[in-house]
Every structure is written in C-alpha cells, then in structure tokens.
C-alpha cells in the first residue's frame, strides 16, 4: 500500500521530482502515497500548472474532478512545495527544480 511507484519518461533535460498524496488524496492514485517521477524535457520550464496537467494525463486514472478544477487543484486540497505552503512560493507559477518534493494534501474534517 505504501510502496513507491516509478513513472519514467526518458528525455533530455527531464526533471526528477517526488510527488506525495495524503489526507485521502492518495485514494485517487491507487492508494500509493509516494511517486518518484521524471518529467520529460520541455521547451518551457515545468511549473505547478503544467505539472497538474501532466498528473491528470499520466497518473490520475479516474474521477479527475475530485483532484483538479479548471487549471488548479480543487478547493480543500493544499499544495506544499518542499514543506512550505505553495502560496508562499508562487502557487501555479512556481518553477519546478530537480529533486523538489510536491505534496498534495486533502484537508481532513473528521473528529
């Protein structure tokens, strides 16, 4: 259940990052919490915005509306860039760097 999945698309100048899903967001990704991914080389630098498109096309198998709405994450999902709230890092425009860790957390409401 916690095993890592490896999704590799080999091209020049690719960016290797770690994606994590928690708070229930992992339910949309076959219960796999950690994904080491290699984003293919691109004419434009990778941003969170283009990463979301890539996730939708490559990792997200079912019910994308539970994860993305329009070009951003749905309300109630918090994005962390290297353990910092993405609001402090430029949100959708943040440019991904090698070995970045991007975490998508669904906020919990139970008690």
């Amino acid at each position: 259940m916690l095993s890592k999945s490896k999704v590799t698309v080999s091209m020049a100048n690719s960016v290797n990052i770690c994606l994590e899903f928690s708070g229930g967001a992992e339910l949309l990704f076959d219960m796999v919490k950690k994904h080491d991914v290699s984003l293919p080389g691109n004419s434009q630098p990778w941003t969170i915005k283009s990463l979301l498109v890539w996730i939708k096309e490559n990792l997200l198998k079912e019910r994308p509306e539970l994860f993305v709405q329009g070009d951003t994450v749905r309300p109630g999902i918090l994005v962390l860039i290297n353990d910092v709230d993405w609001e402090l890092m430029g949100e959708l425009e943040y440019q991904l760097e090698e070995n970045d860790r991007i975490v998508f957390i669904s906020t919990l409401h139970g008690g």
Partner: protein, 468 residues
C-alpha cells in the same frame, strides 16, 4: 530456657492488646473508605446542562487568586517546571476554554485540560453517546450510551478534577447561538467533525477575536493548526472556498483508528495550555501533519493572514455569521445523508429482496462495498465489486461472466436477469446502478438497487444482522 510465669502472662496481654488495636484500625479504615466514596460521589455530581433555551445561564467564573495547599499538592509535578510555575498555574486556572465536539478529539483534549487545572471548560455537543463511539471517544463509558455526550464528558471530567468549572452544552452550535456562547470564553478548540461547523467556528472566532485551536483526524492521519492568533491566518485564509461535498469523507464512511484523534486531541490541549500559560504556541501559521502508518510528524510553514480574506482581511465581506450548511452544501453533522438518485422503479425494498431470496428466484446480487466490509457481514452469495472499481475492465469482465452464468438458469419465458446492487446504507448502490446500467447494456439484465442497503436489512428483516 522457658520464660518465667509473670513474663509469659505479660506477653499474652500485649498480644491481645495488639489484636484489639488492629481490629479498631480495620473498623476505622472501613468507616473512612465509606466516607470517601460518599464524598467522591458528591464531587461527581452531574453539572447543570445548558440547552438551546438557556445559553446565557452560565455560572459566574471566579478564578482563585492564589494556590491553596491541595492545589499545590495536585499540580506539584508541573508547578516545579520553570516554564509554568505558580504564575503559569494561576494563568491556567484563570482561563476559560470552549471545546466544540466531545468526540474523538474533544475527549482527550478535555481530559488533559481538566487535569492540568484549566479554570472553566465549556463542552459543546448536540449528539448522544453511541456504542460505536467508545473506541475513540474515551471519556464515555458503556453505561453512558444514550446520554448526551456533553453531559457524559462533563461528568467524567468533574470526577477527575472537581475544581474545574465544567459547563456542558447539549445543543448544535449554529449562527444564532455561536457568538453568545463563544464570547464567554478565552480560547476555542475545534474538535468538530464537519466542514460547515469548522467555517462557522472560524468566522465566530474572527468576529469575537478569539484564537481557534483546530484539530482533525481520519483513517490513520491527523492535522493540527492554530488559527486567528497574533496576526496569523484564519481557516478562510487557507481555504477560501469550501470543498465540494462529494470529496468530504466522514469517520463513519472512511473509518478512523481511535488513537489518531487521541494524539491530535492531546496536542490541541498542549497548544491551549501553552497559550493560557503565556508561552509561545507552536502551530500558529503552521500545520502539523501526523501520519500514523508511517509514524511521522511533519510541520509545514503556512501563508500569513491574507489581506484578501473574506472574514479577517482588510475589507471583509463576512461581517456577521452566515448559513454555513448552505455555504458548504453539506449538513453540520457527520451523519451520512441519504441520497435519492434513482427512480422508484429502479429500486426494490429489503422486504422485496427477502421474497426473492426465499423463493430462490434466479438473480445476481452485487455488493459494492470494500472487501474489508464483506468480512464484517454479507447476504448470501454476493459478487463483490467495490464502488471505486466498477468501471475497471477486469471487474466488468468478472461481472459479465457471472451474469452469463446466471442467465443459463433462467426459464425460457424470463426475459431479463434481475441484478440487485447492495451497499451499507443505500447510497453507493444507487451510484453503482447508474454505472452498471450503461456498462451492462449489451446484456439482458434489469439492474436495481436495494433501498437502504444492509442497514435496512438489519432493521427490518433480520435483527441479528450486524449494524456498523
């Protein structure tokens, strides 16, 4: 050498005297024990319950201005901590805290706040104790099933520390009463279980300028943040738009391991204690993520207060409390709401299915719960296709094979094979029927759901069938 006569009789007399005194001591011990238990019962006397009609009838709160001998003895182990000391202890005793939700988070938070000597503890909960609460809501006991949670928790807390002023509120916190209740407290602790009440509490705390110590838990994960404290963000700064209702999972659908809210509730008490004792809090503008499966705690730096925030921003648009159920599109409780997606002719009752089963009429039963739930209970001979997997090709293939196998049992004049879909409460089964009608459209089947699911079966057909 044998003792002489007079010395021997002296020994006998002494022994008798010792025996006599021992009996006297035992008698006194018994009396003392009886007196102790009567006085303990008096101390555990039920605190007066506040209900919606009398929210202002809160007893006056008069903190002590010094520590008496019993208090020094009781708190001695924390009094000698330089960070707390007499000053901190008196500050704790002078603080009033409102805990909203006397459940998995509220119970542990209440225990540690009361034990530490908080002055006044308000406990709000509209609900009553159920057997399925006891694995995590550890203040309630078997004997309290059916009694209001606020009262059960207050009585337990009072038994632990009779010097704490406990105020149980048996009511649903809403836009009409939240401000009046919160105004009478210094710190608010969010131990609730639903989105609507979380937004309500946030706005009420911003409008009355109270810090909000917020915790949440589900499955094996917990989260903790302090909102609206010393210029930090509020809940709306983080989440300006409520989540779509279909993305929200409650403890009764998602499950929760009791110790997880236990840990988060304890951390909420810790933040309150530090705040009350004028120490730095740890989770203002920070989010704690606890993963019980990985055994990890991670602290995240959050955004500051947002100038654009609708309630705490520079030009707030929310200046009074709203209708939060409407705002969130969800009820202010964690009870699963009954969906009504299908038409009546697409559904059958549990009584009708009972007849089908008794007559051994050919049909296929599809149970769309998680496999772990089938281990708890099931009807005879279901095929298990979890709702999350109905559209997967391998599951569809299994289903079609089963349908074809059953079709062979049909009499010539039977036109279609009945396929009945069941789940726990009759919500997922309706969604599954919608999917299966399309997915099985190339086969002669008639897909319907069993209204009310297995819980209706347990209530109306077989009372020995487990409910969970």
């Amino acid at each position: 050498m044998a003792a002489s006569g007079p010395e021997n009789s002296e020994l006998v007399r002494l022994r008798e005297e010792v025996a006599e005194k021992t009996r006297e001591i035992e008698r006194l011990k018994l009396i003392l024990a009886e007196r102790n238990s009567t006085s303990a019962q008096t101390k555990e006397a039920t605190p007066a319950l506040i209900e919606s009609g009398n929210i202002r009838d809160v007893p006056t709160f008069q903190p002590a201005d010094g520590l008496d001998k019993p208090s020094i003895a009781r708190y001695s182990r924390q009094l000698i901590l330089p960070e707390l000391g007499v000053k901190g202890q008196l500050a704790l005793g002078g603080t009033s805290v409102l805990l909203v939700g006397a459940g998995g988070l509220g119970c542990p938070a209440a225990v540690y706040l009361a034990a530490a000597g908080i002055g006044r503890l308000g406990l709000v909960d509209y609900d009553s104790v159920e057997l399925n609460n006891l694995h995590r809501q550890v203040l309630h006991t078997e004997g309290k099933v059916g009694t209001p949670k606020a009262l059960s928790a207050a009585t337990a807390v009072k038994g632990l520390n009779s010097t704490v002023q406990c105020v149980p509120y048996h009511l649903q916190l809403d836009s009409t009463n939240a401000l009046d209740i919160i105004k009478q407290y210094d710190i608010v602790v969010d131990c609730t279980d639903n989105v609507a009440t979380r937004y309500l509490l946030n706005d009420a705390c911003v409008l009355t300028n109270k810090p909000l110590v917020s915790g949440s838990a589900l499955r094996f994960e917990g989260q903790l943040t302090v909102y609206n404290y010393k210029g930090g963000p509020c809940y709306r700064c983080m989440y300006p738009t409520p989540p779509p209702p279909e993305t929200v999972t409650n403890c009764s659908d998602g499950g929760v391991l009791g110790v997880v809210p236990g840990i988060i509730g304890c951390l909420q008490a810790l933040e309150v204690i530090k705040m009350a004792a004028r120490q730095e809090v740890s989770y203002s503008q920070r989010l704690l993520l606890f993963d019980a499966l990985d055994g990890t705690f991670r602290a995240i730096k959050l955004r500051p207060r947002q100038a654009s925030c609708a309630v705490c921003g520079d030009a707030p648009t929310v200046t009074q409390l709203q209708d939060y159920e409407q705002f969130c599109g969800a009820k202010a409780c964690d009870k699963t709401q009954s969906l009504r997606i299908l038409q009546d002719n697409e559904r059958i009752s549990v009584q009708e299915y009972h007849t089908v089963l008794s007559s051994s009429a050919p049909h296929l039963l599809v149970d769309v719960r998680q496999p772990v739930e089938l281990d708890i209970c099931q009807l005879p001979n279901p095929i298990n296709v979890p709702i999350s997997q109905v559209s997967r090709p391998e599951q569809l293939q299994r289903l079609k094979t089963a349908v074809n196998c059953k079709l062979k049992q049909l009499e010539q004049d039977d036109k279609k094979l009945p396929v009945y879909v069941v789940c726990r409460q009759g919500n997922d089964s309706q969604i599954a029927v919608q999917h299966l009608k399309k997915l099985l459209s190339d086969l002669p089947v008639n897909v319907t759901d069993i209204r009310g699911g297995l819980m209706a079966w347990a209530r109306k057909i077989d009372t020995s069938f487990p409910e969970y």
